[in-house]
């Protein structure tokens, strides 16, 4: 597949660096993301994956470097030069963020319908019937039975919560989704179903995704390209199959051989 149909990248990261005081979170990450492209960020715990994701999604301010994003109207915006309201608006309309822990991404005391409808109400939807209709559609798309629309996520299983979180993010048809270990903490069979669903929706909607995972199998299944992180730095990047089948960096070789036994 060729993702460079539209010649302008959707997002460009340049020299992204984050220091937590004297501790390094992530250093000098640079890459381009195109529309509809899925990039996996892999690496062991503490290697800087979450930091990179939070930098990219405008949730923490970089110590150095910049992020440029192509808005729906074609204008290129520097994420940290835009106003805070603008950045927050982008975050809840054209972007989505799926947390590993669904409790962080959902309102646990609000019904599933209200969780999905919130973004619509935030952008000015004021017709209850329309909001409920959109929520019903989205619950169906993530395979949540319609009769669970008025239940709160407290009554949901882990897998359902994660699917609800996805619906809540996708309802505004964002062009870019960030996911931090979306299948982490789920049973293997539940993981497989979620991955299938993610793969289907992402390709149907042609959403660009940056997905953090320590699971190379998840990366192989979902992503077109992969970035390998170690001690805060991106040490190898390329097409997912190429990197996983023929890793260059010794660390990647170790990672591949230990997690994907032949």
């Amino acid at each position: 597949m060729n993702f460079i149909e539209n010649e302008q990248p959707l997002l460009v990261a340049e020299g992204l660096t984050k220091w937590y005081g004297r501790r390094l979170g992530c250093r000098d990450a640079s890459f381009e993301l195109y529309e509809g492209e899925v990039i996996a960020v892999v690496g062991e715990s503490g290697s800087g994956k979450t930091t990179l994701l939070q930098l990219l999604s405008g949730q923490i301010e970089p110590s150095a470097g910049q992020i440029r994003y192509r808005l729906r109207d074609g204008a290129i915006a520097d994420v940290w030069s835009m106003s805070e309201p603008m950045r927050r608006f982008l975050f809840r309309t054209d972007w989505g963020y799926v947390h590993q822990d669904p409790q962080l991404g959902l309102r646990m005391g609000v019904s599933a319908g209200g969780n999905v409808g919130e973004r619509l109400m935030a952008v000015g939807w004021r017709n209850y019937g329309d909001i409920r209709g959109a929520a019903t559609d989205w619950l169906a798309r993530v395979e949540i039975p319609e009769d669970r629309i008025d239940d709160t996520p407290r009554a949901y299983s882990g897998g359902m919560r994660q699917r609800l979180q996805i619906a809540r993010n996708l309802v505004t048809a964002p062009r870019l989704i960030f996911m931090d270990e979306p299948t982490g903490g789920l049973d293997v069979s539940v993981q497989a179903r979620l991955l299938d669903l993610l793969r289907r929706i992402v390709s149907e909607m042609r959403i660009a995704v940056i997905v953090v995972t320590h699971d190379l199998a998840v990366a192989r299944l979902l992503s077109n390209r992969i970035m390998v992180m170690k001690e805060g730095e991106v040490i190898e990047q390329g097409l997912t199959d190429q990197v996983l089948d023929d890793p260059h960096a010794p660390y990647t070789q170790l990672l591949v051989s230990s997690i994907l036994p032949a």
Binding site: G109, V110, S111, Y128, I131
Partner: protein, 293 residues
């Protein structure tokens, strides 16, 4: 005989100036919650210490004070606040809405239309309308700052999903001057339309939470709703059984130990004034004689 140990209206002048500054800021930014250094008052929180501090700060010797609690001038709460200001400020008090220049209220807006020469001071228990869904203060503050009010409609959505209609009947959220979403304190939503375009200055004081906010005279106040579930004020479909009023907010009161009930105006001054003018109970089928023609 001995001189009072406190200043006029209890609070010292420096504290009043601080509170007045908060009030002025609140008036300048309609609906915005201004933090203030709430003082200990000689009464427990929940007794309207926020409202009392606001009243104390705006009261002058010429003012005539009315205090109502759920529409009534003679509950313990209303009586003791009135006594407090009689004692500490020596101001004249009244139960008449027309006569009063300052009205401190808990949970009602008087039925009698207010005028430009009056100030209505509300006692507020919880000033933050977003608290119900977002307990983090840093987050609610940012939501106000950036006018991110989607969450307020989530609350109304939840109401409809659960009850089939917007079941919020008290403290019904409003938007002030097309900018800040505000909790009007636990007044019945029947009173919400009176918030808007009101000739009187409306001040809100939350003592425990240390917040003051305001609706300046003639400010547009809109109750939040959905296009297909529009805001509807509610009153019992009945007439007051003392004065026959068909337009006032009614309380249902139990009249004997067999559970008999009757509807009466919640605003006692309104009801008494009407009765003094000759209005009386409506004719009832079961009654032998109608009370008036």
């Amino acid at each position: 005989m001995s001189a009072p140990v406190y200043n006029f209206a209890y609070l010292d002048e420096q504290t009043k100036r601080m509170i007045r500054r908060a009030i002025l800021k609140a008036i300048a930014i309609p609906g915005y919650q201004v933090p203030f250094a709430s003082r200990e008052m000689p009464m427990p929180y929940g007794w309207g210490t926020g409202g009392v501090q606001v009243t104390a700060s705006i009261l002058g010797p010429e003012d005539v004070l009315k205090v109502i609690d759920q529409g009534s001038d003679d509950t313990t709460n209303a009586v003791s606040i009135r006594k407090f200001f009689t004692k500490t400020a020596g101001v004249r008090t009244t139960t008449s809405t027309l006569e009063a220049t300052v009205i401190q209220t808990r949970h009602r807006i008087p039925e009698t239309p207010l005028s430009e020469t009056q100030v209505l001071v509300y006692q507020v228990p919880i000033p933050e309308p977003l608290r119900f869904l977002e307990p983090r203060e840093t987050e609610t503050r940012r939501m106000h700052a950036l006018s991110e009010y989607g969450l307020m409609h989530v609350k109304l959505y939840e109401d409809i999903a659960r009850h089939g209609h917007i079941a919020t009947t008290y403290a019904y959220p409003v938007k002030v001057d097309e900018r800040y979403v505000m909790d009007p304190s636990p007044i019945p939503k029947f009173d919400n339309p009176k918030l808007s375009d009101c000739p009187a200055l409306q001040l809100f004081g939350a003592g425990r939470e240390k917040r003051i906010y305001a609706i300046p005279p003639y400010t547009r106040v809109v109750s939040l709703d959905f296009e297909d579930h529009p805001f509807q004020p509610y009153r019992h479909d009945a007439q007051c059984e003392l004065c026959g009023a068909a337009d006032s907010y009614l309380d249902e009161v139990i009249t004997d130990d067999r559970g008999s009930r009757m509807f009466v105006c919640s605003d006692t001054d309104y009801c008494e004034t009407r009765r003094a003018m000759g209005y009386a109970a409506p004719a009832r089928n079961s009654d032998a004689e109608p009370a008036r023609d």
